[in-house]
C-alpha cells in the first residue's frame, strides 16, 4: 500500500484499524517531501522532526481510542497562516525570519482535531499572484506535465500553488489554502485537486497574514471532495477574535457529500462563455452540465451581467486594502530592517528590499486609488460595482441553488508564459474573482484532462453559507468524472 496515495477519509479509518501507524503515515509524507521538494519547491519550511513527534502523540491517542477527526493526518499549511514557533514568511523576504508567538485560529482548529503539520507551503508573495512565481523562495513547479513534454515546467497556479502541488504530488494528504480572488480554486484546477473557498466569514482570519481583508478566506485543498468536507469541518467556525467571522453553527459537511441532487437547480451563467474560453474548457463544462443533469439536476440559464467587471473591480479593491494591510511591514517591530540614518529612509529601504516587484506594484496601485482626488473615481466606484456583482449573484440564487462555471480559462501554463504584462496574468482569475467579490462560497473540482493531458477544473458557486450544496454537487461531479489521474511527478513514483 502506498500511504501517500490515500484519502484523508481512508487514512483516518486505516489508522483506527491499526493498519498502519500515524508515524508510518507521516514518515511516508516527510520522506516524499525530502525526495521531491527540492524539485517542486512546494514547501518553504519543512517540519519533519516536529511532525514525527506529533505523529507519535497521535499514535498514543489512537491507542487510547481518543482519536479525533484528523488525528495523525499529515497536512501542509500555507505559509500565510501564523504557526506558533514555526517560521511564517508569506513567501516574502520581509518576513523571512519571522517566527510568530501565536497560532492562527484555522491551524489551531486543525491541531485541536489531531492534524500533523508537515511543513509550510509555498505561495505567491503575500498571496499576490496566480502562478506562484512571485515567491521570494522561488517558484513552485506543477507536478503535472503536458502529454509528451517532460521538459516544460508548468506553474501550479496561485497563490496557494505550494499547497496545490504538495497535495497533488502526495507531499501532504491535504493542505490549507487562502483565497482572495481565486487562490484556492485556480491552483486546485491547475493541479487536479479539489479546493474549496468557503463563504466570507466562515473561517476565521485571525492569525492569517492579510492580503485583502474583505476578500481573504481560508479553505481546504485535498484530493477528494469528501476530504475537503472533513478539513472544512475542522477549520470552520465562529471566532470572537475576528470581527468579520460569522456566528453560525457549522453543519455536518461530510453528510452533504454524496447527497442526492434530485431537483437541484443548477445555473449556467451565460457571461462566462464569452471570455475567450478554450474549446477544451468549454467541452469540460458541457460534460459537467450533462453529468449534473444525469444526477437529477435541472439546468437553468442565468445571467450575471456584472461579473465581467469583477476582475477590474478586484484589481482596485484588493490593492487598496493591501496597500494599507502591508503598511505594518516597516522594519520596526518584526521583519527585516535595512538600516538607514532617518526613519523614512529606514522605511523606504526596508520595504524596497523586503517586498518583491508584484507586491510593490500592488501597494503602489492601491496607494494611488485611495489617494486624494482619486478615491471616488476608483475605490468608491469599485465598491459600488461590487454591490452590483453581489446583487447579480443574489438574484440568480432566487432562481437556482448553485452555479456551475469553469474554474480557469486555460489549464496550467508554463513558467515564463504570460509574464510580460501584469494584466495578462490577472486574467487567469477572471472566473474565480466574481464569487470572491460577492463573498459567496465556491469550489473547484477536477473533472478530466484536457487536450494536452492537463487537469481541468469546474467551479461550483453556492449561496452564502451553503457549502453543503457545493459539496453535494461537487461529489456528484467527482463521481461521474471518476477522476483518478495522477501527476507525472508524485511521491509514489519517486520511490
Amino acid at each position: 500500500m502506498n500511504l501517500t496515495e490515500l484519502t484523508i477519509a481512508d487514512a483516518a479509518a486505516g489508522l483506527r484499524r491499526r493498519e498502519y501507524s500515524a508515524v508510518e503515515l507521516v514518515r511516508a509524507h516527510t520522506d516524499a517531501i525530502a525526495a521531491l521538494n527540492p524539485r517542486l519547491n512546494a514547501y518553504i519550511t519543512t517540519t519533519a522532526d516536529a511532525a514525527l513527534e506529533a505523529a507519535g502523540r497521535a499514535d498514543a491517542a489512537l491507542a487510547r481510542d481518543e482519536a479525533r477527526a484528523l488525528t495523525g493526518i499529515p497536512l501542509g499549511i500555507k505559509d500565510l497562516f501564523c504557526t506558533n514557533g514555526v517560521r511564517t514568511t508569506a513567501a516574502s523576504n520581509i518576513l523571512k525570519n519571522f517566527v510568530p508567538p501565536y497560532e492562527s485560529t484555522v491551524t489551531a482548529n486543525l491541531l485541536r482535531d489531531g492534524a500533523v503539520f508537515v511543513g509550510k507551503t509555498n505561495l505567491d508573495e503575500f498571496a499576490m499572484g496566480s502562478a506562484n512565481i512571485t515567491s521570494a523562495f522561488g517558484p513552485v513547479e506543477n507536478p503535472w506535465k503536458r502529454k509528451g513534454d517532460e521538459q516544460t515546467v508548468l506553474v501550479p497556479g496561485g497563490s496557494s500553488g505550494g499547497s496545490a502541488a504538495a497535495v497533488s504530488a502526495g507531499l501532504a494528504m491535504g493542505a490549507t489554502g487562502t483565497d482572495t480572488g481565486g487562490s484556492i480554486r485556480q491552483p486546485a484546477a491547475y493541479c487536479g485537486i479539489v479546493g474549496l473557498k468557503p463563504t466570507y466569514g466562515r473561517c476565521s482570519r485571525y492569525g492569517t497574514i492579510a492580503y485583502a481583508s474583505s476578500l481573504d478566506q481560508a479553505g481546504p485543498m485535498a484530493r477528494t471532495v469528501g476530504d475537503c468536507a472533513i478539513m472544512l469541518q475542522s477549520m470552520a467556525g465562529f471566532d470572537p477574535r475576528d470581527s468579520t467571522s460569522v456566528d453560525r453553527d457549522v453543519p455536518d459537511y461530510s453528510a452533504a457529500v454524496g447527497r442526492s441532487l434530485k431537483g437541484l437547480k443548477v445555473g449556467i451563467p451565460r457571461e462566462y462563455r464569452a471570455e475567450g474560453l478554450s474549446t477544451e474548457i468549454e467541452a469540460a463544462w458541457q460534460q459537467g452540465i450533462a453529468w449534473l443533469k444525469e444526477a437529477g439536476c435541472e439546468i437553468v440559464d442565468v445571467s450575471l451581467p456584472h461579473t465581467r467587471y469583477g476582475l477590474a473591480t478586484y484589481y482596485i479593491v484588493a490593492p487598496a486594502e493591501c496597500s494599507s494591510n502591508l503598511a505594518r511591514y516597516d522594519g520596526l517591530r518584526f521583519g527585516e530592517r535595512v538600516p538607514a540614518p532617518t526613519l523614512d529612509g529606514m522605511y523606504e529601504a526596508s520595504r524596497r528590499a523586503g517586498f518583491g516587484a508584484e507586491v510593490r506594484r500592488r501597494i503602489m496601485m492601491g496607494t494611488y486609488v485611495l489617494s486624494a482626488g482619486y478615491y471616488d473615481a476608483y475605490y468608491l466606484k469599485a465598491q459600488k460595482v461590487r454591490t452590483l456583482i453581489r446583487r447579480d449573484f443574489t438574484e440568480s440564487f432566487q432562481q437556482v441553488d448553485v452555479l456551475l462555471t469553469p474554474t480557469a480559462p486555460t489549464p496550467a501554463f508554463g513558467q515564463g508564459e504570460k509574464m510580460d504584462d501584469p494584466v495578462q496574468m490577472y486574467l487567469n482569475d477572471i472566473f474565480t474573482v466574481p464569487a470572491s467579490m460577492a463573498g459567496m462560497p465556491a469550489m473547484s473540482v477536477p473533472v478530466g484532462l484536457g487536450d494536452t493531458g492537463l487537469p481541468l477544473g469546474l467551479q461550483l458557486i453556492g449561496r452564502p453559507f451553503d457549502e453543503e450544496t457545493l459539496l453535494a454537487a461537487g461529489s456528484a461531479l467527482e463521481k461521474a468524472a471518476a477522476f483518478t489521474h495522477r501527476p507525472a511527478i508524485r511521491a509514489e513514483v519517486a520511490k
Partner: protein
C-alpha cells in the same frame, strides 16, 4: 466680550474651532484586550494586536462605544445609530499598523452644543460638529539614546474621543470657557478624566482671522496644546501673526503649527511638499457599528445630572444665586458635598460656608474637596449648632478653624471650649449694665442722637461675654435700656 485686533488696515476678528482629543475611561483598549491604564512598565500594556503583528485583528470594546454615546448625550448631540470605522493611513514610528482606526465619514455622534458662560455673565452656545472614536498612538522617547528613538506602545490603541467644535469661538476667553465646560461635562459623565497635564485631554486649535462681515479666511491648525492657558495664548499669538501676514500683503497657508509657550510663538510643523494624504477608507476588518436606540435610551436614563441641569436645580431648589450655583456645580464632588450640607438646612447659609470658608480653607491647605479635612456631615453638624442657637455665627468661625485643625466634631469643640452661646438674659443684662456704667459719656452721646454708637455697645457687651452671647438678645437688652 468682544476681542478684536486693531491692525493698520482696520479691525480684525478671530475665528476659532477646537478639536479636543479626550481619552476614554475604560479598562481595556479600543480594539484589544490590553490594559488601557496609565503608566505600567514600557511595552507591557501591549497585545500583539496593538503591536500590529501579522494576522492580528481588531475587536471593538463595548464600553468605549457606551462612553462615546454618553458623551454625545451630554453634549446634547445626535447619536448616529450607524457609524463606521475608517483607516487613516500614514507612517510613523509610534503607529504600529501604519494606519489609525478612526471614524471619518460616519462618526458615532453628530451635531450638538455646549453652553458657556463668560466672566461678564454672557451666555453663548458653541456648536459641536461631531464626536468620533479613534485609537491613540504610542510614544517615542528621544532623549535616552544618542542615535535612536525608543518606542513604547503602552498608549497605542487606547480609545480617544475626538470632539470637534464648530468655528463658533470668537475670543480666547471663549476658548477657555469652552474647554473648561467640556472638561466639566466629561468629568461629570465619567467618560474622560480631563487631565490635560497627563495628556488625557489635548486640543488642536484651528485659528483664522477676518474682517467683520467677511467669509472665513484660511485657517491654521495648532496641534496638541496641552493646557487651557496655552490654548488661550496660542490663539492670541497665532491671530496676531496672521493679521501681520495679511496686512503685509501675504497669504496665510493652511498648515499645521506648533505652539511654543516658552517663546510665545507658533511655528510651522511640516513643509507643504510632505503634505499628508491619509487615504481614508472603511476598515475592512470591521463592519459598520449599529447601535440600538434601546441601548441609547438605557444609557441616557442612567446618565448623571449634568452641570447645567444641576445649576438650574440648585438655583430653584436651594434659592441660591446663579453665580453661586455655578461655582458649586463646577465639580460633581463639590456639588455632592454641598447638597449633603444643604439638605434639610439653611441652603443659602450652607452655600456661603462652602464657597466661602471651606473653599478658602481648601485653598490654604492645598487640598481638594475629596480630601477635605471637614466632611460634609461635619460641616452640616456645625450649621445645625448655628441654627438651633447653640453657637452664633462668630463662634462658628472659631469652631470651623478648630475642626479644620483637630478634625473634632463641632459639638465636641463647643463642649470642650465651652463655646455654647449664652442666652441667659440675666447674665446679658448684667453685662449690659456694666458696659453702660463704664461708658457713661458714650451713653450721653448716643442719647444725644449719635445712633451709630449702638454697634459700639454691642461690641463691648459681646467682648465682655467672650463672644458667646446671643447677638439678638444682646441687641434686645441694649435697646431696652438705652
Amino acid at each position: 466680550m468682544s476681542y478684536t485686533i486693531e491692525g493698520r488696515t482696520g479691525t480684525w476678528e478671530i475665528v476659532v474651532g477646537l478639536e479636543v482629543h479626550a481619552q476614554v475611561i475604560s479598562h481595556s483598549k479600543l480594539f484589544s484586550g490590553a490594559s488601557a491604564s496609565y503608566g505600567g512598565e514600557p511595552n507591557t500594556h501591549v497585545s500583539l494586536v496593538d503591536a500590529g503583528f501579522p494576522g492580528m485583528l481588531p475587536v471593538l470594546n463595548r464600553e468605549c462605544v457606551a462612553q462615546a454615546i454618553r458623551t454625545g448625550l451630554g453634549l446634547r448631540a445626535r447619536i448616529n445609530l450607524e457609524s463606521r470605522f475608517d483607516r487613516k493611513n500614514y507612517f510613523y514610528a509610534d503607529l504600529p499598523t501604519g494606519y489609525q482606526i478612526s471614524q471619518f465619514t460616519h462618526p458615532i455622534v453628530g451635531e450638538g452644543t455646549v453652553e458657556i458662560e463668560l466672566s461678564d455673565g454672557t451666555v453663548r452656545h458653541i456648536g459641536i460638529t461631531r464626536l468620533h472614536l479613534e485609537q491613540d498612538a504610542g510614544k517615542s522617547i528621544h532623549d535616552q539614546d544618542p542615535t535612536r528613538s525608543l518606542i513604547d506602545l503602552n498608549r497605542a490603541g487606547v480609545a480617544l474621543m475626538e470632539i470637534v467644535s464648530e468655528p463658533d469661538i470668537r475670543t480666547p476667553e471663549e476658548a477657555g470657557a469652552y474647554l473648561r465646560k467640556l472638561r466639566q461635562i466629561l468629568r461629570y459623565l465619567g467618560t474622560c478624566d480631563g487631565n490635560m497635564e497627563e495628556g488625557s485631554m489635548r486640543a488642536d486649535v484651528n485659528v483664522s482671522v477676518r474682517k467683520a462681515g467677511e467669509a472665513f479666511r484660511t485657517r491654521c491648525e495648532i496641534k496638541n496644546v496641552n493646557s487651557i492657558r496655552y490654548v488661550m495664548h496660542a490663539i492670541e499669538t497665532e491671530a496676531a501673526r496672521q493679521v501681520e501676514v495679511w496686512e503685509d500683503g501675504g497669504t496665510v497657508d493652511q498648515e499645521t503649527r506648533l505652539f511654543d509657550p516658552a517663546r510665545n510663538e507658533t511655528r510651522s510643523l511640516r513643509s507643504k511638499e510632505d503634505a499628508h494624504d491619509y487615504r481614508y477608507f472603511p476598515d475592512p476588518d470591521l463592519l459598520p457599528l449599529v447601535v440600538e436606540q434601546d441601548w441609547v435610551d438605557e444609557l441616557e436614563k442612567a446618565l448623571p445630572e449634568l452641570p447645567d441641569d444641576k445649576r438650574a436645580r440648585f438655583q430653584k431648589e436651594y434659592g441660591i444665586p446663579r453665580y453661586d450655583a455655578g461655582v458649586l456645580v463646577a465639580e460633581q464632588a463639590i456639588a455632592d458635598y454641598y447638597e449633603t450640607v444643604a439638605r434639610g438646612r439653611d441652603a443659602r447659609l450652607a452655600a456661603n460656608w462652602v464657597t466661602g470658608d471651606l473653599f478658602a480653607a481648601l485653598n490654604r491647605t492645598g487640598r481638594t474637596i475629596q480630601d477635605s479635612p471637614i466632611s460634609a456631615q461635619a460641616l452640616g453638624g456645625m450649621l445645625d449648632l448655628v441654627s438651633d442657637g447653640t453657637i452664633n455665627g462668630k463662634i462658628a468661625k472659631e469652631v470651623f478653624e478648630d475642626m479644620l485643625e483637630t478634625g473634632d466634631s463641632a459639638a465636641d469643640i463647643v463642649e470642650r471650649k465651652g463655646l455654647k452661646q449664652v442666652t441667659d438674659t440675666g447674665a446679658i443684662d448684667a453685662a449690659v449694665a456694666d458696659v453702660l456704667a463704664r461708658n457713661a459719656d458714650k451713653v450721653e452721646e448716643y442719647r444725644g442722637g449719635k445712633d451709630r454708637l449702638f454697634g459700639f455697645f454691642v461690641g463691648q457687651v459681646m467682648k465682655a461675654m467672650a463672644g458667646k452671647a446671643n447677638p439678638a438678645i444682646v441687641n434686645e437688652a441694649l435697646k431696652k435700656v438705652l
